[in-house]
Every structure is written in structure tokens, then in C-alpha cells.
């Protein structure tokens, strides 16, 4: 099958798909049917950057693309978010010439953790960023070690790994490899000696399964660890957050580069650091990186400002089935000294597949909301009863909690319940149901 023909089919299908509003993975699916090895035949650019991990892929990729473009590079990336092989095939072929050459200077790929092994059979990234491995969508993913084994199959010689040194499981990808760059956060203002999460996936060494010891934690199992038994330890980092003031919204990288944060969460800091690292490695100068990432507001719509009648609020898109993502949103809201009310919506657990499993609610640290900054907590959606049961174990007074199975009723109630700022914590699958009831405000 001629490359020309496969690319033509893919581009046509993509064009038609856009007109009728269809997803971006279908054209790639047909292209792969025509020629399973099509990606092997494409002439790739000098740099192929891949990003994977449980959390932060989309945000990190968006920031990398932005920095590279500000640095004068042309970048092709899967901004439509399809990150399995079909979606990746679509965007690569659509960004190629009819002769089969990628048109941009850099190919940037967000890749699904479990399916990366299939994508990178056909070509290998020059730079491979792995952000973290958390309990994420376990109804599909099994558990982090299962994902680790899948992901390991996607790593080949000739790729430089760029790893989060602060995640013990992720750091294992670098075991016995030479071409590895680590990034991480030093002991900073938000580091703590104890792990305060509901669970701790850093108790046992991922390598030898004896107990790890931690000098400090940043959150969950992310921190500075060492294994007294086998010697696994947090590696020295080439790219480090050397200081951070989250109240002020400022971090310093490698003692020299100050970056202001539009989103004051540590979670976001790691995404910025990963983007900084890889852009620096491919030759973007420090000043350009800092300038482009300073106060950068993500365009992927994860933080949305809105008004509900006279009330003002922020929706923090969090991932259902992902307790670390929820914990970060809860921390952000609970730390708002202005005082706030909280709305949590669990209505459809996923928009992509069916499950009724709410085990993950028990991994979320809802106890964070036992903060004096938090007024009322409203629980809404089909699974509001399960949320109520979970909240009955948080120690938060029952009088502060209200539950509605209907999202509209919850919104109606909130219109007049108080004038405090409202934080809405929910997932992609459910946020539209709330946003259709409010007025979105441009930042």
C-alpha cells in the first residue's frame, strides 16, 4: 500500500469527521487497517517527544507545545486528546506531507500509559517524559504496578528518559539505564514529614518490597525516599524546583528561574517542571521558557470560572477514579482563606465506559474539607448517597453536608444558600451538566 494513499484516506476521513463532529481516532484506525506499518514509513523529525503517566499528561503537553512554539519551533501534537495508537496515527498522518514526512520541527505525543507499548512499536520517541504513576481509573487500569509493567514494554533503546525522581515507581524505569534525566522538587515550603493521605503507595519499595524510608513527602508517595534494604533512592535531579511559595504563587527552578503560577497547586508545579525540563533539553533557552510559561493559563478548560446568579465560583476539573487528582482540588479549595462552599458531583463515573464502582471515593482525603475555610458541602449526582456514606466517616459535622441526587436541584439550592465563593469539584464526564446551569466567565 502506498504511503501517499494511506495519508490521503486519513486526511479525508479526518476532514469529514471534523465536519460531522466525530472523534479523532477513527481516521487513524482505518489508516492502520490499510497499512499496519504506516507509522514505520513516515519520515520523522529530529525530535519526537512523548509524555505519559497517570496525571498531568494533557496539561504538560499543552505547556510544552506552547513553549516550543514561543521558541520558534513548529510543533505537531495530539491536542484533540486521542492518545491511543489510532488517535496518534490520525494526528501524525494529518501533520505529514503527502510524501510521508512530518511537516513540523518537533512531534509531541501525549500517550496513554497502557497503550504506549503498541504505539512505540512502530517508532520510538527521542525524549520520553514519565510524570507519575498513581491509582488512576483502576476499573480499567488494574493498579499502578500493572500499568508499570505495560509501560515498561514501551521503552526502547535510543530514547532518553525524562523521569519524575520523586515518584519511586517511576524512578524504577531508570534502573540500569544510562540515558536518563531526572526532575523533581527539593524540600520546599509545602513538604511535610508525614504522609497525611488516606493511603500511602510509598510504604513498600517498588523494587524489593521492603519498607521505604522518607525524608519528606510532597503529596501521597511523592517525595524524598530511600530503601534501607536494596538502596533504591531518589536520584539527583538535573531540573529541580528549588523554592516554592504557593500562597504567593511563585516557584524557582534550579535556583535561578522564577515562574509565576496561574494555578497555585503543587500538582501544576510538577507539570511546569516537566515541561521546563524537556524544553530545556531540546534547546529552548531559559528566558524564553520562563517568559512563555509565566502566569500561563491552561487552555484545556480544567479550571473554569463561573457565576451562578449572584454567586461566583471556580470549577476544578478533577478525575473521577483518581484520588490524587481529587486531593489536589480539595487542598486548593480548603486552603482558600476567603472562605468557601463546596459542591462535589459524581453522576457518571466515566464518559467513555460504563462502571458503577465507587471504591475510589474511599481513597480520597475528604477529611481535608474539615477546614475552617469551608462552609457548606453539597453532594450531588446519581452517586450522592455513596458520597454521603463516605462523608459520614470524615468527622465533618452532618449539619454542614447536604445531598441532592439531582444536579439541577443542587444548583437551585446553591443560588441562595450563601454568598461565599463556590468551588465545584467534578470530572469531565459531569462538568457539562453543571456548566449548562451557570454563566461561564472569561479569565
Amino acid at each position: 500500500m502506498r504511503v501517499f494513499f494511506v495519508i490521503l484516506v486519513c486526511k479525508l476521513l479526518h476532514f469529514i469527521g471534523k465536519l460531522i463532529g466525530k472523534g479523532s481516532s477513527l481516521p487513524g484506525k482505518y489508516a492502520l487497517k490499510l497499512d499496519r506499518n504506516i507509522l514505520k514509513k513516515i519520515k520523522m523529525p529530529e525530535y519526537i517527544i512523548a509524555v505519559t503517566g497517570s496525571n498531568g499528561k494533557t496539561s504538560t503537553v499543552e505547556m510544552i507545545a506552547h513553549i516550543l512554539q514561543e521558541g520558534g519551533k513548529t510543533v505537531a501534537y495530539n491536542k484533540e486528546g486521542s492518545n491511543q495508537i489510532e488517535g496518534v496515527t490520525t494526528f501524525i498522518l494529518c501533520n505529514s506531507t503527502m510524501g510521508g514526512k512530518v511537516k513540523s520541527d518537533i512531534l509531541l505525543i501525549e500517550s496513554d500509559e497502557r497503550f504506549a507499548q503498541y504505539t512505540f512499536k512502530y517508532f520510538t520517541p527521542t525524549h520520553y517524559v514519565i510524570t507519575n504513576l498513581y491509582r488512576d481509573q483502576l476499573t480499567r487500569n488494574g493498579h499502578p504496578e500493572w500499568v508499570y509493567d505495560c509501560l515498561k514494554n514501551s521503552i526502547h533503546d535510543g530514547t532518553q528518559l525524562i523521569l519524575n525522581a520523586d515518584d519511586p515507581l517511576v524512578s524504577c524505569f531508570g534502573y540500569g539505564k544510562d540515558d536518563v534525566i531526572y526532575f523533581g522538587a527539593d524540600k520546599i515550603s509545602v513538604s511535610h514529614e508525614k504522609n497525611n493521605s488516606v493511603y500511602n503507595d510509598g510504604i513498600f519499595c517498588p523494587h524489593c518490597k521492603k519498607r521505604l524510608s522518607y525524608e519528606y513527602y510532597h503529596y501521597n508517595h511523592i517525595g524524598k525516599y530511600s530503601c534501607p534494604n536494596c538502596g533504591l533512592k531518589r536520584n539527583n535531579t538535573q531540573f529541580s524546583v528549588t523554592a516554592a511559595d504557593l500562597d504567593k504563587g511563585e516557584i524557582i527552578i534550579n535556583d535561578k528561574s522564577t515562574i509565576k503560577l496561574a494555578l497555585k497547586s503543587l500538582y501544576n508545579v510538577y507539570n511546569i517542571l516537566a515541561a521546563y525540563s524537556v524544553c530545556s533539553i531540546v534547546g529552548i533557552d531559559d528566558a524564553t521558557i520562563c517568559k512563555s510559561i509565566n502566569n500561563y493559563v491552561l487552555k484545556n478548560g480544567r479550571v473554569i470560572e463561573f457565576s451562578l446568579d449572584k454567586r461566583y465560583g471556580t470549577l476544578l476539573t478533577s478525575k473521577h477514579e483518581n484520588s490524587v487528582s481529587y486531593d489536589q482540588s480539595l487542598t486548593l479549595a480548603a486552603n482558600d482563606k476567603q472562605g468557601c462552599d463546596i459542591l462535589i458531583i459524581v453522576d457518571a463515573i466515566s464518559r467513555k465506559y460504563f462502571t458503577s464502582d465507587v471504591s475510589w471515593l474511599w481513597d480520597i482525603d475528604f477529611e481535608l474539607l474539615a477546614s475552617k475555610n469551608v462552609g457548606e458541602i453539597v453532594l450531588a449526582g446519581l452517586y450522592s448517597a455513596d458520597l454521603q456514606t463516605r462523608f459520614s466517616f470524615t468527622g465533618i459535622e452532618e449539619s454542614k453536608i447536604k445531598a441532592f441526587s439531582d444536579i439541577g436541584e443542587a444548583a437551585e439550592y446553591l443560588k441562595t444558600s450563601s454568598d461565599r465563593k463556590l468551588y465545584v469539584i467534578t470530572c469531565f464526564s459531569d462538568k457539562g451538566k453543571f456548566l449548562s446551569l451557570v454563566k461561564e466567565e472569561k479569565l
Binding site: 483502576l138 504496578e145 500493572w146 493511603y199 460504563f354 462502571t355 458503577s356 456514606t389 445531598a403
Partner: protein, 259 residues
């Protein structure tokens, strides 16, 4: 009455939310006016199973399961007497696999297990190949080396309502044993056996994963009645009951439309 509860390998066999089982159980007992003593133990801790009225172990990663297995083997004699004396225990997810003869992992390595029941566990990959070569005519085998994750409905005649929940595992078990539940929808012990889990006296093992006693108030009632010989006053929690009804309804809707 004092009930002593032992949560085994609480920080190792904790795939997700398993502590919820202990949380609702202890609350139930306390609300029924019973004093509860909870001990959470892990590898290398010293404990004697004979001291307890209820023993719980949750699901873990395959690697963590092997660590727990190596440790629990040293308590084999205590656990044997506990079972013979009709002590109550709950093993959820892959922790039930520790009760069988052996576990063969995806690399083909075999780990000797507690041997309280006559069954063997196969965890994908090379273990499937071994199984096929020993049982060439067995068509029940799960062929793909993938993980089995999915919503399920099980039932049992000793529990008032059907059970709802989720299975997240890569092992299947084969052998001669008494299963715990019947599969109504989804996957149990293996693809074609319409049974889930294992029962040895009052030792309950099920592949249901996570906080199953939170999701299934009727099963919580049953476990409490075993622990207390029916001497605890029945407790009922409104949000827990509504959560169950809603999940059962959603699952039935789903499974009925799938045919």
C-alpha cells in the same frame, strides 16, 4: 461483649478503599452496643490469629500478594485452628488465592500457598501456558493475557439481597472447593464457572474488590451475624441502603440492555 477485629496487611493489601470494610463493620458493631478492638497489622508484625473474633484481608497488587503470602504462611497453624473452630474471616479480591494450594504468576513461577482448600491459582502469561499443557481439553480457560476488570452481580441464598460490586484481577482459580457466591452477571472464579469465591466453614473468600461491605449492607448484616452468633441488634444506614439500591438498579439496567 468485646469483638476483636484483625485487619491483615492493611498497608500492603489495599488495592483501593479496603479499609472501608473495616470502617463500616466497626461502626455497625459499636452502634449495636458492642465494644470493638481493632488491630491493624502488616508484614513482620507479631500477632496471633487465635486472639481474634474476625479476620479481614483485602486485595493487593500481584507483587504485594506474594509478600503477604510469605508472611501469612508463618501463621498457618493458628489460622487452621481458627477455621476449625468456626472463626469468621473475610478475604476479598486476590487475597482469597492465598487459601489454596499454590499461585502460579505470569512469569510461570509457582508459590506455595496455605492449602486450606483444594484449588490452584493461575495469574495469566506463562501460568496459562502451564495450565493448558496440563489440561489440553479445558476450554474454560481465559485465553488472553489480560486483566479482568468489570462490574458484577453475585448472589447467595444466605444473604438477603444480590451482591453488587467490581472485580479487578488477573488470576483464575480451579479445583475442588465450595464456592461462596453464584454469578448473576459478570465474571467469577473463571470464564465459564458461574461461581465466585470460596467458602471454608466461616471463612468467606470473594473476588469482589474494594469496600464491598459498604456497598452491600445485606452482606454486612450477614458477616456481623456470623461474628456475633446473631447476637447483634440489626443496624440500618439510610445512605448506605440508598447507595446499594441505586447501584443495583444501574447494574441491572446495564446488564439487561447488554442482553
Amino acid at each position: 461483649m468485646i469483638i476483636k477485629v484483625l485487619h491483615l496487611y492493611h498497608d500492603l493489601m489495599n488495592l483501593y478503599g479496603e479499609y472501608g470494610n473495616i470502617a463500616v463493620l466497626c461502626r455497625y458493631l459499636e452502634d449495636a452496643g458492642i465494644e470493638v478492638q481493632l488491630d491493624k497489622v502488616s508484614v513482620d508484625d507479631s500477632f496471633n490469629i487465635a486472639d481474634y473474633n474476625f479476620v479481614y484481608c483485602g486485595a493487593g497488587t500481584e507483587r504485594n500478594q506474594k509478600v503477604a503470602l510469605a508472611d501469612i504462611i508463618s501463621h498457618k497453624d493458628e489460622l487452621k485452628i481458627y477455621i476449625e473452630n468456626n472463626g469468621t474471616a473475610l478475604f476479598t479480591g486476590n487475597s482469597l488465592e492465598m487459601l489454596g494450594k499454590s499461585i502460579c504468576d505470569r512469569n510461570g513461577d509457582t508459590f506455595e500457598a496455605l492449602s486450606f482448600a483444594d484449588f490452584y491459582t493461575y495469574q495469566g502469561g506463562e501460568s496459562y501456558k502451564k495450565y493448558i499443557s496440563a489440561n489440553p481439553n479445558d476450554t474454560e480457560l481465559i485465553k488472553n493475557d489480560t486483566r479482568i476488570t468489570g462490574d458484577v452481580i453475585f448472589k447467595a441464598d444466605f444473604i438477603e439481597k444480590p451482591l453488587v460490586g467490581f472485580v479487578n484481577k488477573c488470576g483464575f482459580i480451579k479445583g475442588n472447593f465450595t464456592p461462596l457466591f453464584n454469578v448473576v452477571y459478570g465474571i467469577g472464579n473463571n470464564r465459564n464457572d458461574k461461581s465466585d469465591g470460596i467458602r471454608i466453614n466461616n471463612i468467606l473468600g470473594t473476588y469482589l474488590t474494594g469496600p464491598i461491605l459498604v456497598k452491600n449492607p445485606a452482606m454486612l448484616d450477614y458477616v456481623v451475624s456470623l461474628i456475633t452468633n446473631g447476637n447483634a441488634k440489626n443496624q440500618s444506614y439510610d445512605s448506605q441502603n440508598r447507595g446499594y439500591e441505586m447501584t443495583y438498579r444501574e447494574l441491572m439496567k446495564r446488564f439487561n440492555t447488554q442482553g
